[in-house]
Symmetry: C2
Subunit: 358 residues, 2 copies
Amino acid sequence: MDVTGHTSPGRHSRPPGQEPRKAPSIRDVAQAAGVSYQTVSRVINRHPAVREETRKRVEAAIETLGFRRNPTAFALASGVTRSVTVLTSNTTLYGYAATLQGLEEAARAAGYSLGVKVLTPEDDLDRTISSAASDGGGLLVIGFDRLGASALRRVPADVPCAAVVEAPPHGRKPPRPAVWTDDREAARAATAHLLELGHRTVHYVAIPTSVGTRRSEGPRAQGWRAALEAAGITPPEPHGGEGWDARASYDQGQQLAHDPDVTAILCGNDDLALGVLRALHHAGRSVPEDVSVIGFDDAPHSEFLTPSLTTVRMDFQGLGRDAFGLLRGQLENDYRPPAPTFVGTALITRESTRHPTT
Amino acid sequence: MDVTGHTSPGRHSRPPGQEPRKAPSIRDVAQAAGVSYQTVSRVINRHPAVREETRKRVEAAIETLGFRRNPTAFALASGVTRSVTVLTSNTTLYGYAATLQGLEEAARAAGYSLGVKVLTPEDDLDRTISSAASDGGGLLVIGFDRLGASALRRVPADVPCAAVVEAPPHGRKPPRPAVWTDDREAARAATAHLLELGHRTVHYVAIPTSVGTRRSEGPRAQGWRAALEAAGITPPEPHGGEGWDARASYDQGQQLAHDPDVTAILCGNDDLALGVLRALHHAGRSVPEDVSVIGFDDAPHSEFLTPSLTTVRMDFQGLGRDAFGLLRGQLENDYRPPAPTFVGTALITRESTRHPTT
DNA sequence: GGCAGCGTTGTGACCGCTCACAATCGTTGC
DNA sequence: GCAACGATTGTGAGCGGTCACAACGCTGCC
């Protein structure tokens, strides 16, 4: 079953005699309208000092010739790009994809075009950054992970830049203008919820963090730990931290499943929760009867799992929108970015959590 | 729980006296190296007619000044952009996201920068297209749906363009160079598989199609229908066709669940399958004991569902790669796109399918 | 009537790079 | 010894816009 198809252009796909006629320039328009190129420039820039009648004439010429201002020439001459580049290590994981979507929407609404560059450990970070910087008007960095965070740190100070990041440690500020969600508090609340249901402790399966070594703790882990400590419980050793998806968490899920004392598990994201769910199922432990599971992020499919997943909803799109606003504030002198509009987090309780059976 | 954070740049974030010094130009390099700007241009373009010693000198100057060729000026002067724009109606659904990922990888490998523009029903398609076209060197259209397909049709003939599309009807060719997977055959094989297991018929929950009205059939529906007809079975009325996600298919799943004759369901993608799975569960019908379900696309989480989902694996990344190659062939005179490299489809059998009871 | 002042339009230079062509140099050939 | 030649290098123009400034015509005023 590997039948596939494609069509390709002929070697000479251009009909003879039909040169790819190049787009009209302002000088073409000027000639057609009987004015100077500068007047055309004024018209397309809505400069007030143009007589009504002249403007009409120029606009007519623009219309008939199908003129559109060449963005490249505009960028070169004016130094203004109206384009931004997103730097991210991933485009498909839910959190990243949703953030990217928010960034794109905001950019489109503001009339900016959006470039995307995926960061890989193999590529030279500085090289990638400087090429992206010279390409476009500004950089938007998704700094959820190590790669993204270190890219953010290396963006030269004179390059306009904004970021979406993991909640920074208390008292620390990200190196650049940034937005984030208070994951720490959200994780604390989710953990507290499990404790309130009557669980004696809560185990944690971690996502990778954006800082330091594998064993260092991200904000979600910190919130989890804080909730336990506030309840006078010694936190057990956290699991995971090496991958983002279900494949990565399945093993951890198996270990947890074999420990009969485990009755509640908080996962760093919904994909990890899925792997844990699967492992628990294989081990014959049912959710939520034997074990409660909470995810993080509220991915679109989490609601439809069986059992449907209790999880922490995040407003990634809102984060993206706001990060773009922050960048736009640096790009346009007269633009003041509005206060953050994203809605923070919310614990969505579904079927995967309940009180423990004594 | 709506605590969030952000930092913004001060109003005057630039340290006084530290102007954002503009990047060095080839003339700066030329002066530093004691040659003309044209010689510098030759060096950065690897023109052979430069004496070894001169080249060394220029390269040293480039290094010390940290010169990088301005892509905007290069584009304007040469007419070559080394950038492409992806037009898509969606960035988060698995098929789209994975295709985008393939496109991005290929573009990055070839040294192209990649722009993304999301198509919406509200925006003026022609406007979006022409702005994307003037922005970059070429267009890559993801034409899985109506919006994408109609965008593809409207791309002016003189704009370089390649697409990833739904398999076209027999004997038809897409309007532009394109790649696709033979979904029709894959759906036929998946349906045939269910029949071979002993099911008397197979029901179908459709994804939206890229052509015509809601009720017209995409290649997956055609393949399903063909398999049934080949077995002498009158195809039942297909369901769905109005949405891509689990929310859209849940209702259809409910209807199917209440019909005791339904023992096998093919879904247009894995998300729809998820909604159907959920509806069956709610109706008390177990999978695969009472009903077999097959999805399409092999999304990353499908393997970890319970029951894990039998599905048709697609090589979206490969499609993206190949589509980029097709575009690159139009952009560079001396580049011949390689033959398609994507691997087609494969039926992945997991827990959600088996022979019917009785 | 002459001139300042305004509204409107045109000219020249330039953004950073490429292209086509001209200029320079040291060799070579006869 | 000199023209021809190839290898190098430099010059001018232009890509399609913008900016700064000059120039024009008209009105209002003393």
